[in-house]
C-alpha cells in the first residue's frame, strides 16, 4: 500500500518527509477538518434519542491550550455544540496560528521529534518539582518534609505558634524549621506553585493542617480536589481562586471537608456557571462561608449592565 514510504526512507539520511503519503495525509487532515476523516463524523450523531442538551452542557469554558512552544493561540475549534468531538481547529485560525516550528514539524521527522522531546521535557520538569522527599520524611518526620516540599516549590508555611516562613526572591529559605519535628504545620500557602496530583502526597501527610491556599496553581485540577478528603477533620480554610483547571465537578468532592469554614472559589475559568455553582456549593456545605464565584469577579460593570444571574428559580 505504501511503497512510496519505504522508497523515501531508503533515499535520504536526512529523512525528509516532504511528499510522503503520511505527511500529505497529515496536512490534508489538518486543513480539512470538515471532511469525514476515514469515516468519522465530526459531530456526535445523537441518532438514538440521547438528549442534545447533554452534549451542549459539555462545553470547554476555557480556551484550550495547544501543546506547542509558541505562545498559545486560541484555536476556537472546541467551542460550540459537539465541541468536544471537533478536536481540530478550523482552517482560518489554523493559517493564522501556524508558526515556523509547526510548519517545519509537518515536513521533517527530526523537527517533529525535537518538538516532542521539548514538550516531554516540560512535563517531566513538573514531575521533578513534585517528587517526594522521602529521606527528609524518614529523618525529620512528615511535618518537616511537607514544609520543605512547599518551600522548595516557592510557597510559604506556618507552623503552629510561629510566624510564616517564606523563601526569598531567589528561592532560598532558612533551614531553622528542621528542628520543629513535632510541631504540626497549621497553614500552607502554595499559591502559584506547580503542585500537582503527585505533589499532594507531601501535603496530605500534614494531618493538622487548618488552612490551605492553592490560588492560581496551574496544575491543580479536579483529581487533586478529590484527594483532599484525608484533611477533612482539620481543614478549615481552603482557597482555590484562579486555578485554571478546577471545575464544578471537582468542587463536588469538597463535600468531604465537613470542618471547612471558609472556601474561596472566585475566578475559576473552568466552571461553566459560577453563580449556580456557588449556590450549589453553599447548599452542599451549609456551615461554610463561600466566597467569590459571583458576578463581581474583578470586573467593573457599568451601571446599565445586569449582573449575570444564573441562579434561576430559588432551590428549596
Amino acid at each position: 500500500m505504501s511503497p512510496q514510504i519505504e522508497a523515501c526512507s531508503a533515499v535520504s539520511a536526512f529523512r525528509v518527509s516532504v511528499n510522503t503519503q503520511e505527511a500529505r495525509i497529515k496536512r490534508q487532515q489538518k486543513a480539512s477538518p470538515t471532511k469525514a476523516r476515514d469515516g468519522i463524523a465530526d459531530t456526535h450523531p445523537l441518532g438514538v434519542g440521547k438528549d442534545r442538551t447533554l452534549q451542549a452542557q459539555r462545553l470547554l469554558s476555557h480556551p484550550p491550550q495547544s501543546l506547542h512552544l509558541v505562545a498559545p493561540v486560541w484555536n476556537g475549534g472546541t467551542r460550540g455544540i459537539g465541541g468536544l468531538s471537533r478536536v481540530v481547529a478550523p482552517e482560518g485560525n489554523q493559517k493564522k496560528g501556524r508558526s515556523l516550528l509547526q510548519f517545519l514539524a509537518d515536513r521533517f521527522y527530526d523537527v517533529e521529534a525535537l518538538r516532542d522531546h521539548l514538550l516531554r521535557k516540560q512535563v517531566s520538569k513538573v514531575h521533578q518539582k513534585n517528587r517526594p522527599f522521602n529521606h527528609i520524611n524518614q529523618r525529620y518526620g512528615p511535618y518537616v518534609a511537607g514544609a520543605y516540599f512547599i518551600l522548595k516549590q516557592g510557597g510559604a508555611v506556618r507552623f503552629q505558634g510561629r510566624e510564616w516562613i517564606r523563601p526569598n526572591q531567589r528561592g532560598h529559605f532558612s533551614l531553622d524549621f528542621l528542628k520543629l519535628q513535632a510541631v504540626p504545620v497549621e497553614a500552607v500557602d502554595a499559591s502559584g506553585c506547580a503542585i500537582n496530583y503527585q505533589g499532594l502526597d507531601s501535603l496530605l501527610a500534614l494531618k493538622e493542617l487548618q488552612s490551605l491556599w492553592l490560588q492560581r496553581c496551574p496544575h491543580v485540577d479536579d483529581w487533586c480536589l478529590s484527594r483532599l478528603h484525608p484533611l477533612a477533620s482539620s481543614l478549615q480554610e481552603l482557597s482555590l481562586a484562579g486555578c485554571p483547571r478546577v471545575s464544578e465537578r471537582g468542587l463536588a468532592c469538597l463535600h468531604h471537608l465537613w470542618n471547612l469554614r471558609r472556601l474561596d472559589i472566585s475566578d475559576l475559568p473552568a466552571v461553566s456557571s459560577p453563580g449556580l455553582t456557588r449556590i450549589l456549593v453553599e447548599e452542599m456545605l451549609p456551615s461554610c462561608e463561600v466566597l467569590g464565584a459571583d458576578w463581581a469577579q474583578g470586573l467593573k460593570l457599568g451601571p446599565e449592565e445586569q449582573p449575570r444571574d444564573t441562579a434561576g428559580p430559588t432551590p428549596a
Partner: protein, 453 residues
C-alpha cells in the same frame, strides 16, 4: 491544467499513483493485525499495540469498523461510570489502571498541535447499598478492594443519613463509598482522543464489515497424544459499506473487539463449530442485551455531592450536570429481557421497574419528570458476566477483547494493554488476566462477580 498537475503529482514519488481508479476507500491488501471493531476496546488495543511495539513503526494495524457514526456502539451510549468496587481482584486492578490512564490522559494521548482532552471526570465516587443479606458479601468485597489499593470506606445507615440526608436508609444495612478514583466521565471524548492519537501513530481505519475469515487447519497432536485441529486465520474479507465489493486483507493476527456483536464474528471464524461439550463446540457466549438509560429532572433532588448510587434492587442513578438532572436505570431480570433487535426505549419499564425503587430510596424522586431516554447494548457474557481476554486455544491467532457486560468502558485502557502484551510478548505483564481466557468456558471455571449492574 489542474488535471495534468494532479496527474504529474500522483506519478511523482509520494503520490498515490493509480491510473485506473481510486481505491483509497479500500483497506490495504495486507496488515499485521486486524482489529474487528472500532469502539473504545478496539482503539485501546490499537493504541497499546503501537505504543509497546519495538521498533517503532514495526506493526501495521488496521481497525475495521462498520458503523462510522457509532450510532449503535456501546461506548458512546454508556453512562460513563468508572469504579473499583468489584469482587474479583483482577477487575479492581483493571479499573485502577484505567483510572490512572484517564488521569494522565493528556500525557498518554497527546497529539502535537491539537488541544488537550477534557474528559469531564466527576470524582464523586460510587455508593453501593446493601441489605442485610448482602452485608457480609459487601464487607468481603471491600476487603479485597482495599488489598488491591482502592480507597473505599464502609458506612453504617447512621453515617449515611448524616452524610446524605436525602437518602432513605430503610432496608440498608451497610454501604460502601468510593472516596477516590471513582466517578463518571465523557466516553465520547475518550473515544475521540484515542481515535486521533491512534491515527497520528499510523493506524489505518477502514469503514467496512468483516464477512469472512479464510483460515487453514492443521491436525496436530498434543503432549498427551490426543488430536486437535488448530486453525489459523490467513485472510479477512472486509466488505465495504453499502456496496458488494470486498477486499481480502491478509493478516497475521485478528483481534475480536466487536463488542455486542463479538459472538457473530466468532462464529464466522468457526468458533463453536463442533459437537457440544468439546472445545471445538464451545461458542463465544457473548450476546447483545439491551439496556435502557433514562434522564430525568427533579428540582428538589439530591445536591452537588451526589455519588453514583446503586440500590440493592439493582436500580442506579447519578447526577448529570448542574441543573438537577439525573441519569439512571436498572438491569432487567432474565425473564423481562427486552428484544435486542432495535434500540427503541420502553418507557413503561421506567414506570414499573425503575421509578418505584428510586422513589423509595430517595423520597425527593417521587416528583420527577423524565426528559429523555436512550437504549444501548451490553456485550453480555452469558457465562459469568466478565470479560474474555486473550487468544482462542484452537483458532490460534484470534484474540478476544470483549464480553465485559457493562464495564467494558471503564476497563478498556487496561484491557487494551493486556491484549497488546499478549500479542507482542505472549504473556500478560502488567495485570495477570489468565483467569479471563477463553478456555474457562470449556473447563467451566466461572469468574463471577457478586454485584452486577
Amino acid at each position: 491544467m489542474s488535471e495534468i498537475k494532479k496527474k504529474i503529482q500522483s506519478i511523482l514519488p509520494g503520490g498515490d499513483w493509480n491510473p485506473l481508479y481510486d481505491t483509497s476507500y479500500l483497506p490495504p491488501e495486507g496488515s499485521d493485525v486486524v482489529i474487528v471493531g472500532g469502539g473504545v476496546l478496539g482503539l485501546s488495543v490499537a493504541y497499546w499495540l503501537k505504543k509497546l511495539e519495538k521498533p517503532r513503526g514495526a506493526i501495521r494495524v488496521l481497525v475495521v469498523e462498520r458503523d462510522h457514526t457509532y450510532s449503535r456502539a456501546s461506548t458512546v451510549l454508556s453512562v460513563g461510570g468508572i469504579r473499583q468496587q468489584f469482587s474479583v481482584p483482577e477487575n479492581v486492578q483493571l479499573s485502577l489502571f484505567s483510572v490512572d490512564f484517564l488521569r494522565n490522559i493528556n500525557e498518554y494521548l497527546a497529539v502535537a498541535d491539537d488541544p488537550p482532552l477534557d474528559i469531564q471526570f466527576n470524582p464523586s465516587g460510587y455508593l453501593l447499598l446493601a441489605s442485610e443479606k448482602g452485608a457480609a458479601i459487601m464487607e468481603n468485597n471491600v476487603k479485597v478492594q482495599r488489598q488491591e489499593g482502592a480507597k473505599v470506606c464502609l458506612m453504617s445507615p447512621e453515617q449515611l443519613r448524616n452524610k446524605f440526608p436525602w437518602i432513605n436508609t430503610e432496608g440498608v444495612a451497610l454501604a460502601s463509598y468510593g472516596m477516590e478514583h471513582e466517578g463518571w466521565f465523557d466516553p465520547w471524548c475518550l473515544l475521540q482522543g484515542l481515535r486521533r492519537k491512534v491515527q497520528s501513530m499510523g493506524v489505518l481505519f477502514c469503514r467496512g464489515e468483516v464477512t469472512r475469515f479464510v483460515s487453514s487447519s492443521n491436525l496436530m497432536k498434543t503432549a498427551s497424544g490426543e488430536e486437535v485441529n488448530l486453525k489459523r486465520i490467513h485472510e479477512v474479507h472486509v466488505k465495504i459499506d453499502q456496496s458488494l465489493e470486498y477486499q481480502p486483507v491478509e493478516c497475521a493476527i485478528v483481534v475480536n473487539a466487536a463488542g455486542a456483536w463479538s459472538g457473530q464474528v466468532a462464529e464466522l471464524a468457526g468458533i463453536g463449530n463442533g459437537p457440544p461439550g468439546t472445545l471445538q463446540g464451545t461458542k463465544l457466549p457473548v450476546e447483545l442485551r439491551k439496556r435502557y438509560v433514562y434522564l430525568w429532572h427533579c428540582p428538589q433532588g439530591p445536591g452537588l455531592e451526589t455519588p453514583f448510587v446503586i440500590d440493592p434492587s439493582g436500580t442506579y442513578f447519578r447526577r448529570e450536570g448542574l441543573g438537577h438532572n439525573y441519569l439512571g436505570g436498572c438491569s432487567p431480570t432474565e425473564e423481562e429481557e427486552p428484544d435486542p433487535g432495535n434500540l427503541e426505549v420502553d418507557h413503561d419499564f421506567f414506570q414499573d421497574r425503575v421509578w418505584p425503587p428510586l422513589a423509595q430510596r430517595v423520597p425527593a424522586f417521587e416528583t420527577l419528570k423524565v426528559r429523555s431516554a436512550w437504549a444501548g447494548y451490553y456485550d453480555y457474557n452469558t457465562f459469568d458476566q466478565n470479560g474474555v481476554v486473550g487468544p482462542h486455544p484452537l483458532v490460534i491467532n484470534m484474540y478476544f477483547a470483549t464480553g465485559f457486560s457493562g464495564h467494558g468502558l471503564q476497563q478498556a485502557p487496561a484491557v487494551g494493554r493486556a491484549v497488546a502484551e499478549m500479542v507482542l510478548e505472549g504473556h500478560f505483564q502488567t495485570i495477570n488476566l489468565s483467569s479471563f481466557l477463553f478456555s474457562r468456558f470449556y473447563s467451566g471455571e466461572k469468574v463471577q462477580e457478586h454485584n452486577i449492574i
